[in-house]
Amino acid sequence: MKKTIRVLIAKPGLDGHDRGALVISQALRDYGMEVIYTGLRQTPEQIAAAAIQEDVDAIGLSCLSGAHNELFPEVMRLLQERGADDIIVVGGGVIPWEDIPFLESKGIKKVFTPGTPTVETAKFIEKAVFERDGISSSKGAATPPERIDHIGIAVSSLDEALPFYVNQLGLTLEAIEEVPSQKVKVAFIKIGETRLELVEALSDDSPIGQFIQKRGQGVHHVALGVSDIQSRIDELKANGIKMINETPVSGAGGAQVAFMHPSSSHKVLFELCEKSKKEEA
């Protein structure tokens, strides 16, 4: 049976603005969570005690008065002191961007700034709780990619480009192969844990051929290493990310690959890339 997530929404300090706290409480309830709202003017002690007593999975702290830098870390400290630091804590309110790294360094999992859709907050909490409990999520936000598998660089000619990488930089050429599905020839160059992939077009109408005609040689794509590529694609699609390949295609080195549409990813062309188990080992 699926676990029902319990969340405490709390207003630390003296701030009386609870429109956001009330809205997020109801939105999380509508999402299927059990929500306890503390009401106004809670001390960090009261919040930590309530969270432990109510045995919640997560706490949402809301503060619009500017007291967050003092009160949020105090809640974290108290949770830790009482051995309850497995509770996922997120925050929201009027919180300047520059304070967010500090709060995250104190253990706040995420700070949601004004304008965040409530469903995004709900999904984040759900995923964080499921991850903590080792439950695989069905509708949470996408599982993060695990590594940079390689960086793709478009070149006019492998023969002309390779000497720079191998002779000047002194890197190791791993393999050269043709990839019929993309009408390209690629050279993998090993660098630390990852690779550079030099890509030469085999015909002018291939994606790389068109890229070079339009923009010249240069960095073409970043490949993110994932496992279970089809479910990663499904998750991204569910979150509104446009995919160029909605099902994986065969890439170089026997990998399964799929490209994301750059319009969804701030103009960077990303490739999801799943290597076969043998390759990984």
């Binding site: 003296l14 009386g16 429109r19 106004l40 003017r41 500017g66 961007w97 520059e98 004004p114 409530t118």
Partner: protein
């Protein structure tokens, strides 16, 4: 009296009035040199004179004064305050130099909830959303070199309103300004704190007593002071729609009137000093209509229900602030445009004073530059657009008049419902308004999230990789500094006098006498906000929410 006669009388009266309060210009005209008349429409055959009245006349649909902004622009009153009293004093003097015409004090949350800066509950909050005031010493620093006989000051203070008003009177006295020369406003509206804003201390009954004590005290001692600012602003910010803002504000107003009458005051003795405070939100015409409907509703209620005789009791005068919750954190410069149209609706609705929000308020407290742009927005509306050159220019618009009528109707339905529940106090205690507001606010949120309502730059027309603007930071050491200051004060003041005054306050709280004179003596003895409210907490108990 027939319509033409009324109009003639109005014209004569207005001309007469102008001898004392002349208009800004001899002649108002457009860029094409078309003369702008003071008033349009009233001479028309079909003019509904009973419904609209004439400006400055019952039922005040068209404005609370005859010449409105042709005589004097609205008061430009920017809400400000942060950090220490000294810093805020600097910001006030800056705003006055920049042409602001009234002050508006923001207090920090500990002050608003009656805790001193060294109270454990004050942790992290000192000086954050406003200025920290612990004792008369801080108030003296806050108002240093500001001539209190010349500026009017609005103070956003509710549960401890008596204490802060007493401090203001005491500082003025030290400046040599008598209390009857002081003008300004205290918010003093506890009902909307229970409903929407959250800075309550005491339960409703003693809270209402503190309020009516202020009404009575000011009537004789500080006659030019607005004793309350009945606020729809925060109700709207909490998520209400325009009709709910209108209805719940007026319902609260009626509760204060009833409480004052019950305390033995005469309607015409306190009603002229009641002021209102509304929100100027995004839907332009609806906002204009709301302000007009509010004036008409209040006038009818005061005259017909309560039998007030003094026209000043019928007049709803109001302050407006543009809607803080309409500001986006994304692309903050767009907020300047939102603020401009909201401010325009307030001006076309006939506001007496106006605060325009700064563009960066969804991110932090405004920087000096943002605060200046906000003030300039009002100055541009006043001096460049000509919107202030005739009275109530939107009157007679089919749309605006129809919206005005409809808002009045919906609000009246709410009023009837609240009355059935036993009035605003008991409706608040039953959580009725809170539930209605939450319902509307959640519906709005859903509409924004599914794209039915578009917020430019937030759920549509977004941009990637926004640059983060520079934000104002409050001195993080302030809490400690303020604690040290308080410690020094406590070791240097006359402790016996303090204890004696606090005991006098305690027994007064147990009795029936007006608490204002006692509180005034307390603040003059340098009792702190926390000490005074502490005694009252012990005597009155605390409100803990619904």
């Amino acid at each position: 009296m027939d319509k033409q006669q009324r109009l003639k009388n109005w014209q004569e009266k207005t001309e007469h009035l102008m001898n004392r309060f002349p208009e800004r210009k001899e002649r108002f005209h457009t860029s094409s040199d078309i003369e702008i008349k003071r008033l349009y429409g009233a001479e028309e055959e079909t003019y509904p004179i009973d419904k609209l009245g004439l400006p400055g006349e019952y039922p005040y649909t068209r404005g609370s004064q005859a010449t409105m902004y042709r005589a004097r622009f609205w008061t430009m009153r920017q809400y400000a305050g942060f950090g220490s009293a000294e810093e805020t004093n600097k910001r006030f003097r800056y705003l006055l130099e920049q042409g602001q015409t009234g002050l508006s004090v923001a207090f920090d949350l500990p002050t608003q909830i009656g805790y001193d800066s060294d109270h454990p509950m004050s942790r992290g909050e000192v000086g954050k959303v406003g200025v920290a005031i612990d004792s008369l010493e801080d108030m003296e620093a806050l108002l240093k070199d500001i001539p209190l006989d010349k500026v009017s000051t609005s103070m956003t203070i509710n549960a401890p309103a008596s204490v802060l008003l007493a401090m203001y009177i005491a500082v003025a006295e030290k400046q040599g300004v008598a209390a009857d020369k002081l003008s300004g406003t205290i918010q003093n509206d506890i009902l909307k704190e229970y409903i929407a804003r959250g800075t309550y201390i005491f339960p409703p009954k003693p809270s209402m007593r503190l309020i009516t004590d202020i009404f009575a005290f000011c009537q004789s001692q500080v006659p030019k002071w607005n004793t309350i600012s009945i606020s729809g602003y925060h109700i709207r910010e909490a998520g209400a729609n325009a009709a709910q803002e209108l209805a719940f504000t007026i319902a609260n107003g009626l509760a204060y009137v009833d409480a004052a009458l019950e305390a033995g005051l005469e309607i015409d003795d306190f009603a002229p000093r009641l002021a209102f405070f509304f929100n100027a939100h995004n839907q332009f015409f609806e906002e204009v209509a709301k302000f007009r409907a509010a004036r008409r509703m209040w006038a009818k209620l005061m005259k017909e229900r309560y039998g007030a005789k003094n026209p000043k009791s019928w007049q709803l005068r109001f302050h407006t602030q543009t809607g803080g919750s309409t500001l986006t954190a994304q692309q903050p410069d767009n907020n300047i445009v939102r603020v401009t149209t909201q401010a325009l609706s307030a001006v076309l609705g006939g506001t007496q004073s106006l605060h325009t929000n700064s563009r960066d308020e969804a991110l932090a407290l405004p920087t000096e530059e943002s605060a200046r742009i906000a003030l300039r927005t009002q100055q541009i509306l006043a001096h460049e657009t000509g919107v202030a050159d005739t009275v109530d220019p939107l009157a007679g618009s089919y749309y605006v008049e129809s919206l005005t009528d409809e808002l009045e109707n919906i609000a009246n339905e709410y009023l009837a419902k609240i009355e059935q529940m036993g009035g605003a106090v008991s409706a608040v205690e039953q959580g009725y308004m809170q539930r209605e507001i939450h319902h509307t606010s959640y519906e709005t949120q859903k509409k924004i999230e599914n794209g039915q309502e578009i917020i430019v730059g937030m759920n549509k027309f977004t941009i990637e990789n926004e640059e983060q603007p520079e934000l104002l930071r409050v001195d993080p050491e302030l809490g400690e500094k303020q604690k040290r200051k308080l410690k020094t004060l406590k070791s240097t003041r006359d402790q016996n006098r303090v204890s004696a005054q606090l005991e006098t306050l305690r027994s007064a709280a147990r009795g029936q006498d007006n608490l204002m004179p006692v509180i005034l003596e307390c603040v003059k003895s340098y009792c702190t906000v926390g000490e005074i409210c502490g005694v009252l907490r012990e005597e009155f108990g605390e409100y803990t929410g619904v």
